[in-house]
Symmetry: C3
Subunit: 458 residues, 3 copies
């Protein structure tokens, strides 16, 4: 079943992508060979003014977060590292193509020729969109099949593009680092799906939940690349100049504070005072999520520290109390604890963003700075900061609705018994989707293995 289904889905979707890209997608002015003429006619003095040089370094950092960051963060399970990093790769590779189309239709359709014009900012946005699906993957890690993941991604990207359009364009909320658009949406989307796919007999695979020493070290690779590059994530699409600069500083500070409070709570939570790798791997990142919306605002350095301080505490406490509670009473099993890392900090981030926006003043931002930071231009030119705060809050609600509602619907679709997901006693096990190497220490060579000569073999 899987044998035919997964390849078929991959081929059909990839061919569809090629056709749709052929019809719709073209280079934008800055990546088209006409740039040299565009430069002259727009009086642009130098190639360095090409948006590529403003955003490409941040793009690459975001790219690392998507593939290595999310991929390795999920390798902590003792026997699901291939699935973690491999299916992460699959979701992201597919999702970013679909995201370019969906986001293009909503945001960068050229009215002149009906084409979507892409450039470096489109790639960042596509990576952002994929991030929300990878967050959702965290909730169902080890319990779904690759085909289910692709379906989840297809719908996830679609929903994302719509809610993003509503929040950013219709409601005119600002969300540079995506606390609402990416994290809140992605986390509730994943949690709702996990709820719909609840497996009452999952304790048959219980012995496979947990790490081994080196899988925890692998997961730290993911943690650290996420942590280090989060300033780039939050600043990647914010305004040129002070916007990007300030977003990076705020995120840098917030994350630093989170490290200390996560470690503090982790140690406090154990009778022995020992630290738990789960907290270090995850809760230390919460500050980056929570500062996402407000990163480009004048949150002030101490404001960033306060956000990070609180989120480190809340996220770690979430791992200790809320995750077990959710599983036991709400029937939501959350493999990676995305509720603690993305959902709660995302909501906090939305609220912090609303408050910071509402509190903005010409004294702090300057007249031009205020208009520039909040994009009070065109039809929004008479907007007040307090109004903007309201719009931010409305944006958060939209993200929550899309996440929960979308997740329930997609979860229902994924409950259909056609997707080839693992039985309850084979969850968190790479063996059902991957050819595994014979490991000397604990897997004695089997006949099956010997028949399967790796292609690299003599």
């Amino acid at each position: 079943m899987v044998r035919v289904f997964l390849p078929a889905v991959c081929f059909v979707w990839q061919i569809a992508m090629i056709i749709l890209f052929g019809i719709f997608i073209r280079y934008n002015e800055e990546s088209d060979a006409h740039w040299i003429e565009h430069k002259t006619s727009n009086n642009i003095s130098s190639n360095i003014e090409n948006d590529f040089y403003f955003r490409y370094p941040s793009f690459q950092d975001v790219h690392v977060m998507i593939f290595v960051g999310f991929g390795f963060l999920m390798t902590f399970l003792k026997r699901y590292s291939f699935g973690a990093v491999g299916f992460n790769f699959l979701i992201a590779g597919f999702g970013l193509q679909w995201a370019l189309l969906m986001q293009g239709w909503f945001h960068s359709l050229d009215p002149m020729d009906g084409k979507i014009k892409i450039g470096v900012e489109s790639m960042i946005n596509a990576d952002f969109c994929v991030a929300s699906c990878l967050i959702a993957y965290g909730a169902v890690l080890g319990k779904v099949s690759p085909v289910q993941l692709m379906v989840m991604t297809l719908f996830g990207v679609t929903l994302y593009a719509v809610e993003e359009y509503i929040i950013l364009s219709l409601i005119h909320a600002r969300d540079a680092g995506g606390s609402m658009v990416i994290h809140t949406f992605g986390a509730y989307y994943g949690l709702s799906i996990s709820w719909m796919l609840y497996r009452p007999n999952l304790d048959q695979s219980k012995h496979r939940i947990g790490s081994v020493y080196h899988s925890d070290v692998f997961a730290m690779i993911g943690t650290l690349f996420l942590w280090m590059f989060w300033p780039s994530f939050n600043s990647a699409i914010s305004d040129h100049g002070d916007g990007q600069h300030r977003a990076a500083i705020n995120t840098y500070l917030s994350l630093a504070a989170t490290v200390l409070t996560s470690i503090a709570i982790s140690s406090l939570s154990q009778k022995t005072g020992k630290l738990d790798m789960v907290h270090i791997q995850n809760a230390t990142l919460a500050g980056g999520v929570a500062v996402g919306t407000a990163a480009e605002f004048m949150l002030m350095p101490y404001g960033s520290l306060i956000v990070g301080f609180c989120c480190g505490i809340i996220s770690t406490l979430g791992y200790i109390y809320i995750t077990p509670f959710m599983e036991k009473y709400l029937k939501i099993h959350d493999t990676c604890g995305i509720h603690n890392l993305h959902a709660m900090p995302g909501v906090i981030g939305g609220i912090v963003g609303a408050i910071t926006a509402a509190a903005a003043s010409k004294g702090v931002y300057g007249t031009e700075g205020l208009a520039n930071t909040f994009d009070f231009m065109g039809k929004w030119k008479d907007m007040m900061p307090t109004q903007q705060g309201g719009h931010q809050a409305a944006g958060l609600c939209v993200a929550l609705c899309f996440g929960i509602g979308g997740g329930i619907i997609v979860g229902c679709i994924l409950r259909l018994p056609i997707w080839g997901d693992a039985p309850d006693n084979s969850c968190f096990d790479d063996d059902i989707y991957w050819e595994l190497p014979e490991d000397e220490e604990n897997n004695p060579p089997t006949v099956e293995y010997n028949n399967h000569m790796r292609n690299k073999a003599v």
Copy 2:
């Protein structure tokens, strides 16, 4: 033997490098302290116009690909991870110095003073040159001694500089991402050497070919850093502005498509539908190779997807059918399957480049854009795109000839029985070149180990 030979070669070559650098190599205008005067006299308005700011972020990405990307990609073998990452380090550290000299003599010799002037672009080119030798290393991984690798690198860099000069300067082919110059050359160079060094009794080391669970996860680090930074690789030395921008977009898209088709074919190829890590680690990268030449052209987003689509299929099929065939019938053992990852996609990349160039038109590129993209200036100012297509094809042939011819000659040299390579029953084993730690799980402590106290030890 090794004890004296390897250090002697390292010292002699490093001293030679110092002497040659002393005679020949100087900073270029943009890295010399006279830049401040140069800026004034050339009316450059800002330091940001220094080429450093256009290329340094891409350089660092390429640098990561060379050392972590190639290094970790080859760590998949269960007992050759030290050799993979360590000898990769040795080859690259030596090769880049020699490359600066060789490429400098051909490309950046200042006629005024007979000196080579280096800058950030020289460092990128040196890394590129080294990449071709590391590709070649993939074919002979585990079967040659470090001294053989250094000889291979010495000749490889030399041949590279010559073929690069012929292809780019004499023939005036374009090859931004090096499909021909780097990948085709490097892969056939390595395969020819492996052919010359064929070991009929290699099955004595057969049990060491293959991975363990965590070595496959390590290899994924290499895969992902190559995959993520390939857009930087293909855009690192293309034209400022739209050239770099477009090359990054094309590569990004091509690689995304490759992921899906590689996974599809991998699953199809197994009766059980399971995925094979070998394919995920390698074939997913083929799209980056194949789009190398055409990345800076107006390949169009859907064109990039098509290239990636095809290469994912071809490369994965290569691992399944061609690698075993080559070993059995052609007596070419290719440890990492570089024929599938670099040789075939490299040739495809050359062909795609020729077709894209031949199909170029003023309508698509604009008059200035066409001249700018293909560098139709100076003595080439009357060149037609169709002619350019022919030149691209000629370039591909040169790369093939240098790769195969050079590889056969160097392979003959490496067959001399003086290089201290491993016996047939000790291939793919770190134990002959590395002090190994006692591993609790499978290497019982031995007297030899206990005598060897690590220097870090108490």
Copy 3:
């Protein structure tokens, strides 16, 4: 004890940071929303002139070095990988906040309003400051408690800020890559602390010093990220334009030479000619340390190679002869061998810097270039290069004094029996500070483990 002490310290310090940041720290002109007005009034033509675009890519590379580079370099111990990467994270997260304050008071206090104004350069400097504490951590790895590490960091950052102010501002020495300020200071600080904390009975933990196969591969991740990004480290805060460009080239070359000589000496040192991973992991980096001060000067490409050449030899010989000597006769146990990687190369770097500065001439630098490179402006405008050489040497002495003196004092404080450090037979063991997963291969499941359900578990 630890249970209360570590969380208490984390909370108290983080709250102190928030208060101090609230009082003192604000955005600088380039990260403040007033930038748009500042731009107009200062006639800055484009956002790309914001310092963010000059330095942010380098900042991110430095950030990776601090967290992944140092963190993973220390994972080599078989059972202290969690402590290596986790406490590295803790030190850095705390240290960078304190560094922003300390360095701010000395370097960027705005006399108008008494506030510290931060931007991207402040973040780089904070990371640099933290680097010196992480170097010191290398000497005491596995032997101290997290609370001791935090105390060490608190004092280390404080001392660093003072010595940096004396060296760079009062003495007017140049030290772009921090050979003196970061490496010499940090290494002697750590070694002095290790001397004060000498444990005569450490051989009770001897069996835990040493690596396993995969922990050595993890450590190579740290090595390579340090090695690759060192050009960014040395160029991150040097002058815009040629300064950054030249610093990157010099570091790139020096490191390449170090690889060859480290490998040569490593092979020579063993009767069997085998290579030792300790040397490859560490000594290959010495060239980056030693070229730190002179990287922005006209050291010339061959000069960089010579520095790298010598340091590879000296550092590797240090691991072979000096580390055991220091432990046996000087009672200094240096877990990571920082004396070989940071102390000696740092001192060499200071000397190379002094010589290069003293040898500077208008012929080589140009009149403007000389003034620009050495910052001969304001009260220093009549300074001669030979004088500058003397000042460089004086700077080196200051770094040594602060390192040794500060280390002795802080070491005395850390000898107080209140810090909860591990007993002599539990050093280098994650088990006392971390909840460890049950590892199938060598840790049979215990009752204690079964009672501790990981929070991720079902």
